[in-house]
């Protein structure tokens, strides 16, 4: 059975390190990854009627981010069934609970010591998720971010040279 996993994201290449850490430290289970960012909708009628999740996500994703996703899919072809983005539009705990329930997530990934890039109206999904009590379903998976120095580096090279043992050849 394919598991659907919520992974907090800000749609930067750097945030894809969370995906990599999760994949490398999880089992052989096939997963469908939903990269979720937080965007607080204001109460204007224009925003309520005109906001489109797809457009908002497309605005945030740059070419390198998409290439990064493709690279992860190529690397973990048998394990990663799909990667796509989504957006939470409120910090309200009832909304968040319904969002998680509606999307039928079986796992929620919470990175430790990772700072997301803030854009206007954005909020940290991890902070919101940490306030909610989860009783087993969905399962909360905590990942340790290995190299704090890479935090400042938002480029595709942050995918590589993350751990010394990965240098496979000299």
């Amino acid at each position: 059975m394919i598991q659907r996993v919520l992974i907090p994201s800000d749609f930067t290449v750097n945030s894809l390190r969370i995906v990599l850490e999760y994949i490398e430290n999880s089992g052989d289970q096939q997963v469908e990854m939903v990269l979720v960012s937080g965007y607080k909708l204001d109460s204007s009628i224009g925003m309520l009627l005109g906001f489109s999740t797809a457009d908002h996500i497309a605005d945030l994703q740059d070419e390198d981010f998409l290439k990064g996703c493709e690279m992860i899919k190529s690397r973990f072809k048998d394990k990663v069934v799909e990667i796509y983005g989504d957006c939470m539009v409120s910090k309200n705990s009832r909304y968040v609970r319904n969002y998680i329930k509606g999307a039928k997530f079986s796992q929620i990934v919470l990175p430790e010591a990772f700072e997301f890039t803030h854009t206007p109206n954005s909020f940290d999904v991890v902070e919101v998720l940490q306030t909610l009590p989860f009783s087993g379903v969905p399962e909360v998976v905590t990942v340790q971010m290995q190299d704090a120095n890479l935090q400042e580096h938002d480029g595709l090279d942050s995918f590589f040279f993350r751990k010394n043992w990965r240098f496979s050849y000299e």
Binding site: K67, K73, S74, R75, F160, F167, S168
Partner: protein, 451 residues
């Protein structure tokens, strides 16, 4: 462009002529209708007048007016004629118009705004010309109004055509003129210039994009040919120095047979390396002269090429270390295939890797390889001196050396050559650097697609 302007002006002239002709036709048709209709009405009133004057109904002058509306300034007249058709008497007829009256039948004519209808009648052996005249109110007022209306419409129409023509010229001809001006600026001395695609829309944007892509190919081919001798000298210099150095060192004193064998083996390795580079350079020399201007590209495995490049770099200088991260290699090996020439790609990658080793204090380069949907990514990183930001835009110029690289040997040829080779393979090479921290070279190549 002159032809284009002429065509545009011809179209405007045709439009103006058509509009004027259309207005004239409407005016003529309505006027014609107004005349013939009014003459009919006059003829009818003339017949009634003749009945009244000649058949004894003179005492009822206004009987017809009970049924017919009197025309504006309507007047009736009768002229009695003798046998020779000379005027015997008349009742208020303007004699200056006598010449225009048909003395033997009916006449319709117009004098100023007054219309006339006359006819010859025979009564008791005498001849009479009975006529009616009236002003055509429709002609003098309504038609004038229509005429003014059409003239105003014509002027507005001409104004509209002029404005639209100017707008068309501005929105269509001006971008083309801009495009031509930009193309004129590009010559052999500044082949790096490109058309600014964002300035154009639609088909012109496609044209600018196509032209830029053509310029990419021309620039690569041109630079490769122009710098061929420098490239050849640069590439052959290192193995030759290595061969000479080993031979010199070996001959500096008497040695055991095994040492001579070992030295000879090293010389053979260096010579083989030299042969590989010569072959690659010959391929480079043929750029642009192949049939159909395309090199004989074949699918090659990029991971193998990267490893071969690393081996050749380490063969040249034993102090160089290369750490490779293949952790992101795709599961599907087909994604590692690129369409290209192995020796040339190896030459490009080895140049970049040896540069990274050279500028790194511990002579270590980090090489990584990954694949995305339609391409392959190669990253070569060092933790060396970095490149000053002001020099970054010049690093692809042949013979350019960064201001902080004076203490390192080199000619500034390796990176431009590598970039040209990557461009020949429809790929991109970009460099990012932080002064004092290191440099990362990013190479992207399109994946080979069988169909």
């Amino acid at each position: 462009m002159g032809n284009y302007n002429r065509t545009l002006y011809a179209l405007i002239a045709i439009l103006v002529i058509y509009t004027v002709s259309f207005v004239a036709f409407i005016m003529y048709s309505i006027t014609n209708f107004a005349f013939s209709d009014f003459y009919k009405r006059l003829d009818f009133r003339r017949n009634l007048a003749s009945e009244r004057m000649l058949n004894g109904k003179a005492d009822e002058p206004n009987w017809s007016l009970n049924y017919l509306e009197e025309l504006h300034n309507q007047r009736e007249f009768i002229v009695e004629l003798d046998e020779r058709l000379h005027v015997v008497r008349d009742s208020g007829f303007d004699k200056s118009l006598w010449e225009r009256v048909n003395k033997k039948g009916e006449t319709n004519f117009k004098e100023g705004n007054t219309f006339y209808s006359t006819k010859l009648y025979q009564q008791q052996g005498k001849s009479y010309i009975v006529g009616v005249s009236a002003e055509n109110y429709f002609y003098t007022h309504h038609l004038r109004y229509l005429q003014n209306l059409l003239l105003i419409a014509l002027v507005l129409g001409l104004l509209f055509v002029t404005v639209v023509s100017l707008l068309v010229k501005r929105s269509f001809i001006r971008p083309i003129t801009g495009l031509i001006d930009e193309v004129k600026k590009i010559g052999s001395e500044n082949l790096y210039l490109r058309l600014s695609e964002d300035k154009y829309t639609g088909v012109l944007k496609k044209l600018a994009n196509t032209f830029n892509r053509m310029l990419n190919r021309v620039e690569t081919s041109f630079e490769t040919q122009k710098n061929f001798i420098s490239n050849a000298s640069h590439e052959l210099n290192t193995p030759l120095t290595s061969i000479i150095g080993i031979a010199d060192l070996t001959l500096s004193k008497d040695r055991a047979v095994d040492e001579y064998k070992s030295a000879m083996q090293k010389i053979i390795d260096a010579a083989e390396n030299l042969e590989k580079k010569t072959n690659a350079l010959l391929l480079l020399a043929r750029t642009g002269y192949e049939k159909g201007n395309k090199l004989n590209f074949k699918p090659v495995r990029i991971d193998q090429i990267v490893m071969d490049a690393e081996m050749s770099v380490k063969a040249i200088n034993e102090r160089f270390h290369i750490k490779t991260d293949f952790s992101m290699l795709p599961e599907d090996s087909m994604k590692l295939k690129v369409n290209g020439l192995g020796p040339l790609l190896q030459l490009a990658i080895s140049n970049v890797v040896s540069n990274a080793c050279k500028y790194s204090p511990d002579h270590t380069a980090y090489v990584a390889l990954g694949a995305f949907e339609n391409g392959i990514l190669i990253l070569v990183r060092d933790e060396g001196i970095g490149i000053p930001e002001s020099d970054l835009s010049h690093i692809y110029d042949p013979y350019f050396r960064a201001s902080n690289a004076q203490h390192f040997s080199g000619y500034g040829i390796g990176l431009p050559l590598a970039r040209n080779i990557i461009k020949m393979h429809e790929g991109t090479l970009s460099v990012s650097s932080v002064l004092g921290k290191g440099t990362t070279v990013r190479i992207e190549l399109p994946t080979f697609t069988p169909f």
